[in-house]
Symmetry: C2
Subunit: 123 residues, 2 copies
DNA sequence: TCTCCATATCGATGGGCGTCTATACGATCC
DNA sequence: GGATCGTATAGACGCCCATCGATATGGAGA
């Protein structure tokens, strides 16, 4: 688990209710979460993340991904770097190829913070 | 529930697993979700949302919120407008005051898309 | 070693956005 | 109706960022 990333206490995470909704976020918390959301807040990066996750083995190399977009290779590489540096993608080099893999824990923490883990809790 | 907002099928929502991780997001889906995340991806707006949610009755007027920030009133007003227009805040005018209220359903849908609704599903 | 291929870095550019000041709107009260 | 108070809009400015073309890096094969 990546408690350190969002700095959710185990209680907050386990309590299974929206920390965002329970008590006011501190300035520090907000400034730590915002960059993560900013990294996600791009159509290309959302699709990249989803493509990587849905790929066989949960990982994909750049060559697998670039074809899905009408963008240049440097641009794709840039987006992958953003996702990697923020902690949403793991990066592994095997031979000439670089494989990216989704860090599910980060996404899970983020979702817990945003919406909690209540299945039918819309009220 | 606001299925229409993110356009999650009931199955995707109920299936309670990360749609983002299950199959590649369509271009249309990504372009619909990204603005929502972009609206959230700002420290001030995160804190605004959280302040509104944590306020008594789940709603707060601008005057309650502005004091928590070192920003001008128009700037706060601008951020509230962004959150309102994207569907994260409801807006009600009572007399001279305007009250904002968090739309929990939108947040819940978003969280379901990002991380699913699995309590301890980090893997 | 030379070449080729996959990926990353660099520098430039155009557009979007967070913030400000100034001002407008609209409701309440005297 | 005029003053006042809460909130929103308008316009301007500076910075960040998505994208590009050009180039660098570095492993694999001949």
């Amino acid at each position: 688990m990546s408690k350190s990333l969002l700095e959710l206490t185990p209680v907050q995470t386990v309590a299974c209710c929206q920390p965002l909704m329970r008590e006011p976020l501190s300035v520090a918390q907000a400034e730590r979460v915002a960059p993560l959301l900013k990294a996600l807040a791009d159509p290309v990066r959302l699709r990249l993340l989803s493509l990587v996750a849905a790929h066989v083995g949960g990982e994909a190399c750049v060559c697998d991904l670039a074809d899905a977009f009408d963008l240049t290779q440097p641009t794709i590489s840039h987006h992958l770097k953003v996702l990697h540096e923020i902690g949403l993608l793991d990066r592994t080099k095997r031979g000439v190829w670089v494989y990216y893999k989704v860090r599910t824990d980060t996404l899970t923490d983020l979702a817990a913070l945003i919406g909690g883990t209540l299945p039918g809790s819309a009220r």
